[in-house]
Every structure is written in C-alpha cells, then in structure tokens.
Amino acid sequence: MRQLRRQWLFWGVTGAVYLFLLGPILAVALASLEGQQSYAFHFPPEHPSLVWYSHIPQKYWDALGVSLTAAMIAAVISTVIGAAAAMGLVRGNWRGRTALQAFFNLPLQVPLVVTGVVFLQFYNQLAFASGVDPVGSLAGLVIAYVFVTIPYSVGTVGAVVSRVDPRLEEAARTLGASEWSVFRRVLLPLIKPGLFAGFFYGFIVAFGDVPVAVFLAAGGFVTLPVEIFQTLQFDFDPAVLALSTLVVIFSALLIVAVQRLVGFDLVLPSTTR
C-alpha cells in the first residue's frame, strides 16, 4: 500500500513537470487561435479562427530567413571544425587530451549574454580600426555562433569517433582501398550520426538564440527570436502567437526527425561529455 502511494507521488511530480514544461507551449498554440484581438487570454478561444496566421507582418518572415541562414551556415562551419578537432583529438594520441577537450569546451563557461557583449565590443573596435563593421551583418552573427557552438560539435563527433574501431579502416586498406575511399566508404558512414547530431545542436542553439543576436542585430538585420523578444517587450502583436506556433511545429518536427536519424544516446546530454 505504502509502495503504491510513493509511486503515485513520483508519477504526480512527473505529471506536474510535464504540464509545467509543455503547458505554456500549448497555451501559445491555443491563444493563436483566438480571432478577436485582446490582451487577455481566453481559454478555450471564444472566437476560433486562423486569422492571425494570414496577418503575420513581413518583418517576421524576413527575420525567419535571417535566423535560418545564420543558424544553418554557423552549424555547418562548426560541424566541420568540430569534426576535424574530434578526429585529431581522439586519433592523435595526445597526452593532454582532457585538457585539450576542456579548452574546446570553454565557450560553454561563458554566459551567452557575455558572448554577445564581447563580440559587439570586438566588432566595434574592428570597425574603428579597419572601417569594416560586422555588427548587423551575416558574417558577424555567424562568427559569434561558431564560437558558441564548437563545443557541441566537438563533443558529439568525439563521442562517436572514439567508438569507431580503427581496425575497420585498416582492413579496408589491406583489401586495397585508397585513402579517399577508406574515408568515404568506411569512416564517413561510421561517424555520420555524430555529424548529424553536431549539426543539429549547432543549428538549434543558434536558431533559438536571443542574448547573442540582441547585441549583434542592427538595422534591418534581425533574427526571429530577437524580433519576437522585442515585440514581447515593447508592443504586443497577436500575430506573434501564430508565428510562434509555426516555430514550435517546425522545431518539434526537426527534433523528432533528428531523434529518428541518430537515436537518443547522442542527443541526450551526458555528464562525461
């Protein structure tokens, strides 16, 4: 009897946790269906309608384009850098490998808001010295995101590479495969899950970021989360609810796709990484 009660307690906490985590996201989706403009939230929607979905201002679509582009480019660059670093770290037989790994993880120790200010100030000084101002440009944003996301790609690719048995490549070599085809037909397929997971991490971190982009966005160059952030702070627009719902659906699909593609173990964080 007592055993049953304890289980109920734990399941109760679990239920509350899920409600707390997902309830607000569902609330956004439900609120987006309320057709009448109002600042109060009605549940269930009193005038169900999809009207806000056709009233999303152009600036949000532009911002979505900026976010997708910046996150995509940054994720690709950091996956390539991370993969090279992971191969060099794991296969290089370094004596100070943990120290090197810790070095690549340093960006995780810096709060994102600090990274934002650091790069803003650095870009300002660069502009002062050279006349080229990376603030409010794609390059400026991508460089900061590469800095932020390298730890994720080094971690995920590293976790996969250390599981690959080098004898497989040796076998291919013995059987007469060239170095290129060993890489393309043996190593690459084996580390592919790590590459996908690294890309995914980089993309999702960069795509959802506010604290870095809030400093580096300028003029017409603003990312979607920053655009939403400004709307919430200064002038609420119900269209934001509709737009957010679309982002929620997009993110959920992306996450499920990645989970299918690479499985749980790479996406779940672990204390050893």
Binding site: R2, R6, L9, F10, T14, V17, Y18, F20, L21, L22, G23, P24, I25, A27, V28, F41, I81, A84, A85, M87, G88, L89, R91, W94, F103, F104, Q109, V110, P111, L112, V113, V114, V117, F122, N124, V146, F147, I150, V154, P166, E170, R173, E179, I204, G208, D209, V210, P211, V214, I228, L232, L241, S244, V247, S251, A252, V256, Q259, F264, T271
Partner: protein, 293 residues
Amino acid sequence: MSETRLAGVIPWRRFLWPPLLIATVLLVVPHASFLWMSLHRNLGMGLVSATLTLDNYRRVLTDSFYLGSLWLTFRLSLIATAIALAAAFPTAYVLARTRSRWVSLLIALLLVASFMTVVIKALGLSLVLGQEGILNHLLQAIGIIAQPLLLLNNDTGVVIGLVQYTLPLLVMLLFSVMQTIPRSLEEAAELLGATRLATLRRVVLPLAMPSLIAGGLISFNLDMGAFTSAVLLGGGKVLTLPVLIQRKIFLDVDYPIAACLATVLVAIVFAFNLLSVLLLRQRRKTAAEGVPK
C-alpha cells in the same frame, strides 16, 4: 604495432591544428579586447579614456547597487536550481524505472521542451501566469484565491522562468545516469527489508549524487547567465547581472562598466565551478578513506 601504422598512414594529429587555431583566435582576441575595455574609464558617447584604471572594478565591487544585483542573481539562481533539482529527480527516476511503452514519447517531449527557443517558452509562461492568465483564472474559479497572484514582472516570475529553462536538461541528464543504476540493487535492498524510502535514500540517491551535483552546477551556471527569461518574466524590473549588462550597453552606452560586470559574472561562475570541483574531489577522497577494509 597497429597504432604506429595507423599514425603513419594518416597524420591525425595535424587535424587538430586548424580547429585549435580557430578556437583560440575566437576565444582570445575578442575576450582580450573586452578585458582591455573593462580597464578604461567611460567618457560618455561610447568614448573611453586612454589610461588604464581599475576604477570600474572598484565601483562594481563596492557600490551597493551592483552588489545588490550580484546577490539577487546568485540568490535567484540558487533557488531556481534547488527547485529544478527537486522536480527533476523524481521525474528522471520514474522515466528510468517505468516499463511503459510511452517512455520514448516522453523523452521526445522533453527534447522538444528543452530545445524550444526561450522566447516562445517565456511567451507561453506569461500567458499562463499573468493576472488574467490561465492559472489565476483557474485558481479563482476553484476558490483557492480571492485576488489574482502576482506571478509576473517580479522575482517569482524570474525564478519560474529559470526553472523552466533548465528543468528539461536536468531531467535528461539524470535520466541518462539513472538508467545505468541496476534495478537489481534496489531489489536486493528491498529483499533485505529496506522500505522504498530507505532504498531511495540509501541506494539510489548516493549513486545519483555525482550527477545531481554536476547537473546542479550546469543549471546554476545557466541560471546565472540567463538573459531572455529574466528580461521577459521580470518585466525589466528584476535587474539580475545579465539584464543589467544589456541595460548598460543600450541605455547608458557605458561599455567599460558593462565589460566589467560581464567579467565579474564570468569570474564568479568560474570560481563557483572550480570550488565545487575541489569540494567534490575532497568528498570523494574522504569517502574512499572512510570505506572499511
């Protein structure tokens, strides 16, 4: 033999140099110029003095306004971390122990909650927690409260936002550790007459302790640096360090003080981590010595 051959075929070590160079440049150059900035006096209009000075640090570390912000950030982060850990432990335990078919769906939902951009989560929380929000409506309808609870634009709102920010990550982290704790240990303890509570307290908890501490640290670090939820759920009234840093840049255009505040924030987070790593090592050492032969 195979190692030397492998090393001979492909120069793996060389793969490390370009990433190491890039990571070093991205780390050192901007941060060095940043530290440099924190050592100058602000002259207004984005200009700074030419001479080096420690004045900014002296100001930040003696002025009660900045110290208050520091203490607020620390306190809210600590409270949020404690709540998140208390909620994450039972949840991770349930997920790791249940034999339900729904586990993979539940994990996928955690991933969604964890990777969703913070702005949308904060937007959702403000819909739920507002004075006209769902929660207050619900509680008033049931008759638990007469007046709506003030859950937004204050410390409470920020703490709730912080908990939501780190909770899914903590659950995933603890889940992946608890999966590795063999069920048989608990069964053995129960066979030997331990109650469920005693089994949890004396078998599961000690085994999960290192990951609880590691998770608590990660959560605390994230909370100390949390910007988006602190701004949106604090309504600009709760001035934690990250919020203050942004204000110094945008409202006061005081780059040196912002740089100094940011440096102090990073230093505190770093020192806290270092301290707990040392404590953890000490604990492990005494634990190892305490084991009867």
